[in-house]
Symmetry: C2
Subunit: 553 residues, 2 copies
Amino acid sequence: MSNDDFPSPAARNHRILILGGGFAGVHVAMHLERLLTPGERHEIDIVLISNENYMVFQPLLPEMVGATIAPQHGVIPIRRLLRKTRVYIREIQSIDLTAKTVELSPGFQPHTKTLGFDQLVVCLGSRLDFSKVQGMKEHAIPFKYLGDAMRLRYEAVRALEEADIETDPDEKQKLLTFVVAGGGFSGVECIAELHDFLAHAISAYRNLKKSELRCVLLQSAERILPEVDPVLAQYAHQILERRGIEIQVNVRLNAVSADAVVVTSKVSSDSKRIPTRTVVTTVPSAPDPLVSALPCERDRAGRIIVNEFLNVPNYAMLWAVGDCAAVPQPDGIMSPPTAQHAVRQANTCAANLLATHRKQKQSKFLFTGLGKLASLGRYSAVAEVMGIKMRGIPAWMAWKAIYLMKIPGWDRKVRVAIDWIIDVILPRDIAQLRVHESDSVHQLFFNKGETIFKEGDFGDQLLVIVKGEVEIIKDGKVLSSLKQGDIFGEFALISDHPRSAQANAKTDVHSVAISREAFQKLVAHLPGVRPTIDSIMTSRGYKPPEVKSLDKE
Amino acid sequence: MSNDDFPSPAARNHRILILGGGFAGVHVAMHLERLLTPGERHEIDIVLISNENYMVFQPLLPEMVGATIAPQHGVIPIRRLLRKTRVYIREIQSIDLTAKTVELSPGFQPHTKTLGFDQLVVCLGSRLDFSKVQGMKEHAIPFKYLGDAMRLRYEAVRALEEADIETDPDEKQKLLTFVVAGGGFSGVECIAELHDFLAHAISAYRNLKKSELRCVLLQSAERILPEVDPVLAQYAHQILERRGIEIQVNVRLNAVSADAVVVTSKVSSDSKRIPTRTVVTTVPSAPDPLVSALPCERDRAGRIIVNEFLNVPNYAMLWAVGDCAAVPQPDGIMSPPTAQHAVRQANTCAANLLATHRKQKQSKFLFTGLGKLASLGRYSAVAEVMGIKMRGIPAWMAWKAIYLMKIPGWDRKVRVAIDWIIDVILPRDIAQLRVHESDSVHQLFFNKGETIFKEGDFGDQLLVIVKGEVEIIKDGKVLSSLKQGDIFGEFALISDHPRSAQANAKTDVHSVAISREAFQKLVAHLPGVRPTIDSIMTSRGYKPPEVKSLDKE
């Protein structure tokens, strides 16, 4: 099939390639391993491609933020679950349905790798869509992967550390304000655990009081937890408010900057600014670019349309499972993006992959969901399980029991159970593990009217305006007005003096920031990047690509 | 004292400022807290400045690599230990002994912060010295901080993942070779735990065999563990060799690249290359730049010379404790850089800080060490405790018992003990937590003769030569020879095609690499960096700084 087919034994003449190492993908492979007859094991080659070597157990993500469980215990190493599958830890670059190949990104060596397939299962999940809100990509912490949970934890502790030594009361309040956008399952569980953690951790800080903490949940719909019964949602709302969490419903998130969020009421259309240093986003999702690039039909949300067999119409060798697929249930509605649905879809798909190979009859996807669970942090939850509504401690116990049961592998069950027990007796961990370093070249967004830097500030970065206008102000006078393509903030970096003037965003401003350290390397080693590259490329006989010259604007 | 003295109550007219949140600094503060009388608590302000909000329990660092304990359990949040000390989590920018102030780097807001002091305790430890070996800074993983241990763990799992799917046998062997430089305590414990972990984890990889694993320990002295009795060192040597670890003594590490290390025998002066993707360095240490900048006297290793009271001669308000200080023992030799010495020094120093304030007599540092312990991984160790030599299981048990006792705080003792118990029953964790992302602008070193990239490779970065020469080769012919200041590798980035030619290091090459992503941002938004900045600065009335033009070379 491909030139890189080691170590697939030549005898294995049928390859099932699974894209994605989430719940869906791993369960397709697990189920295939179970269903294969000994004869088929020599014939069929199961290959799974994943970005990470572990699968995240999503329901435990909020507990990783809250430090109820250790971050590594909420993930399961894929290789411990799959013993007969070949696992590639690589990013996927492209899918070619005609050639029946998938191209993988390079590893240590700068070679891409091509893998062929006979049947392809797409389990690429969904991504967070940052495009709807200005500044969200630059400044909000997403809440989807393990790295996100660890980063949120780090940022939350960092905010407490800074607040403890902050002398400016406004800045202190900003540091102690935490905003979660999205009032669905994920947002509610996130703010509940985050608030628990902060309320607990704050006792270690001498200059902070629990009453100074402000946790805000933003929800665009009329109520939180639209997924569950209104009575349960109302109960959850009350529990969270009683703990001191501020819930704002019917609001739209307009913009996020390093300093604040701007929200608009859907009722009154009034806008207001909530000053904060920590914003988490749990909404909304967008399809993976690889899914969008497939030639098959997709629904409005960008999900691959499959039939009740999980097969993609008109593509006999193509299957889709999980959040990236629009899977019809027997009741006519589409499967929601939850783990319980992904696992059942995976089982049906695995059976049908083999049925295709065996030329047998395919089975239909018949699952319609067992129930819904949302944890509200310590000792509370809401649940609807097989028609029974629960709340408070019984729901919380059901939550713990059900998810402990669902964690694949004994190893993880034991580790998570021990973490839960220890959490009851020992204080929460406030060690601030540094996991996220902002890149030396990154994007920043500023709201109209926001101060970008003040005179006397430390010169930490140089900025280039990508879109918008900036005013440089000194002694109350506008020294200059800068626009697209202009650079500012370089003097403090080159001279090592503090900022000599103030910079304000005259309009909304999108910019690229280059860190002090990277800038100094670039200046020292890369004189006149563009002209140099142009002339070198010209001298080597290549035509430099067209880049709009911003110098002349 | 300073303009930023919140929240020190005005009544507290004596401030003791401790620089550094390691063993030494935290123990000075802990002991001060214990010694203060209720009256003094209102008078004396204890302030500690640390880069991280936790203290690393160094002896457990190798176990964090080996996944015997969870990384966060080997660190202790400083605030849990210090209840009466103000803690600043900031980097220190400068120390001014004349003005009696210390300047801290900015936090969320770009302001530096100035803190005054009456007495200053320097506990800044030591840094790793990368300057002695070419390429070490760029390619070796240091082994000193928590982040280093987590990064080593990540890189080790990444190497296994890549080896499992590698089709080229040479590349596979390179991926399965792990080199630790330094045969002292730290290097020996690191390779023992790393080997344990790899030997255990490799069973999860279908295409890897334990026999393919190569772990190499490099030691420049005649034997490993020069700190302990030769008989115990010999025992440790045999234990490690029996497990399959290769020990090379009397060798000097000459160079490290992304591909290999070059070592020279001190006996025969022969050099050889060990192809490897993972190199750890535990040698040697250098003073912190802040320590080097102090006007006081230092020894040859750059440590601050103190008297037997831990006070710096001629600076009554200045004290130094731990690895950054040259502390004389009653037996005439200098205190070695171990935790047990740091803790005793801290106690003496704390007592003398108060004695100075109380105008009482100072006490002398009288400790000479209780013993030495080195863990050799599972069920083995060597130890010399109060004159008694131990090895094997008894030494291993002594190691566990002594360090469990020494971990400050019940919380951590319980967590570490549980980790140790779980480690006996459950498999080691191979989840590959991503903690280290290489920066978008970083340095690379290539050995003379090394291939920088091959024709057909994926264009992942652009390179600028800082020192050395590079040849561009196609079809066996040298197309061009590049030198200092020249750029190469840009075409594959701009055109999105694979590398069109091969690049070889003609000499040793130091370079700056700019990642694909950062380069694309820079090209799109930053046309002609240098001329643009020059002309903007000129137009604003500043003289651009002199930077040697590399264009004309």
